[in-house]
């Protein structure tokens, strides 16, 4: 971008397409990062929303087609792939989850694929989508939803609510509160117990969300920094980084899925 400084370029690439309450009182799309910040909590990142919804729909459509075509005969093409993935997730769940819960495996599958697809957006060249959006009159467009903490926290809070729900359902409210307050130091160390276990509990969704967000944000950042370099050297850095990123993209989705399974397993266990 010849007309911009590097910092403007980076800032532009890191700003979401935010819809909310504009300073003049009307509802609309923020035209710069300051406006977006000023909108406060009650605003929406349209780009995150749109891309994650689209990718989620693609995931559900592909797997839904396979589910409709599923039969006990010889599997072919798509069904084969989908069954392979389902089996992979099922194995992961069987390996880490000791309880019986029909929710966990579909949850893990959804998490894995949704995050996987969203992470893959990172490999789209960083300028493509903002340029196309700009040509269509859209001021900003961040195409990787997992570089938006709203998206990662959205999922981890969903998982956290499930952890709370199943903790209370399996252990009872008393059991859950007891777990938070009566260990590791017995009933006389109650404040210390509550502090330790509380941190332990809260750290689960926070670490889930921040790990994914941090990784993807940093990866995106490096792509953007590489994009500032002269175009004829970019490939020497962006190609290895992109290849490495294929691993990160998969690994992060897998870690999020596995930790979700582990956390839910802990919620299902009487003692840990």
């Amino acid at each position: 971008m010849a007309t911009e400084t590097s910092s403007e370029y980076i800032k532009h690439h890191l700003t979401h397409l935010t819809w909310g309450h504009l300073p003049d009182g009307a509802w609309g799309v923020a035209q710069n990062a300051e406006q977006a910040k000023a909108m406060g909590f009650w605003s929406l990142n349209l780009d995150t929303f749109f891309v994650s919804l689209l990718l989620g729909a693609i995931f559900l459509y592909i797997f839904g087609r396979a589910a409709k075509a599923a039969n006990a005969g010889v599997p072919s093409g798509l069904l084969n792939f989908v069954e392979w993935m389902v089996e992979f997730v099922e194995d992961s769940v069987r390996g880490s989850f000791s309880g019986r819960n029909a929710l966990v495996a579909p949850l893990a599958l959804t998490i894995f694929f949704w995050i996987y697809l969203m992470n893959w957006m990172d490999l789209i060249p960083v300028d493509y989508v903002p340029y196309i959006a700009g040509a269509l009159g859209v001021p900003f467009f961040k195409v990787v939803p997992t570089t938006d903490p709203n998206a990662t926290f959205g999922m981890s809070i969903g998982v956290f609510l499930l952890v709370l729900y199943y903790s209370i359902k399996i252990k009872g409210l008393g059991g859950f509160v007891g777990e938070l307050t009566l260990q590791p130091f017995g009933k006389f160390g109650l404040p210390a117990n509550l502090f330790l276990e509380g941190v332990n509990l809260i750290s689960k969704p926070v670490s889930l969300a921040l790990r994914l967000f941090g990784n993807m944000y940093a990866g995106e950042m490096i792509f953007i920094l590489i994009a500032i370099l002269p175009f004829w050297v970019q490939w020497t850095l962006s190609l290895p980084w992109a290849i490495f990123h294929i691993l990160i993209v998969t690994l992060q989705a897998f870690i999020f899925m596995t930790l979700t399974i582990v956390y839910l397993d802990m919620a299902h266990q009487e003692h840990h």
Partner: protein, 156 residues
């Protein structure tokens, strides 16, 4: 990277996706997979059964073949025995018949010899008488010397 209502929207979206996946995607696929696994297991079991059946049939056919061979060998050996027996019987019968014929012939020969000897004796006696007659130059009364002649005759 402001935290805003996107968080709520994403949570809701997440819950909806999970719900949809759990309701409409996971069960049919896993069911189909389980069913296929069962079908494959059945097929393999059937194959195994068929194989063992084939093995059994092969063993049985071999047994039958073996038995048949044994029986055939038995029949052949029996037939051989019988043939040998028949040959033996025939041999004995032939020998007996031959002996019988030989004995008959011998007896006849003896008889002939005896008869020839008798007639020879008669003739010799007559010759002797004739000779004696000639020697004595006299008529010998045959009737008178019949006893004498007879004794000579028996001495011959």
């Amino acid at each position: 990277m402001n935290i805003n209502a996107t968080l709520l929207g994403q949570t809701i979206m997440f819950v909806m996706f999970v719900w949809f996946c759990m309701k409409y995607i996971w069960p049919p696929i896993t069911n189909a997979m389980g069913e296929r696994a069962k079908r494959i297991a059945d097929g393999l079991a059937a194959g195994e059964r068929g194989k063992s059946e084939l093995e059994l049939a092969t063993k049985k056919s071999l047994e039958i073949l073996h038995e048949a061979k044994q029986k055939a060998a038995e029949v052949i050996s029996q037939a051989e025995n019988r043939a040998a027996q028949i040959v033996d019987e025939a041999k004995t019968a032939a020998k007996e018949e031959g002996e019988r014929l030989l004995n008959g012939a011998k007896a006849e020969i003896e008889q002939e010899v005896f008869r020839a000897r008798e007639s020879l004796r008669d003739q010799v006696a007559a010759l002797a008488v004739a000779g004696a007659e000639k020697i004595l130059r006299q008529e010998v009364d045959t009737a008178k010397h019949a006893e004498l002649l007879k004794s000579i005759q028996s001495e011959l």
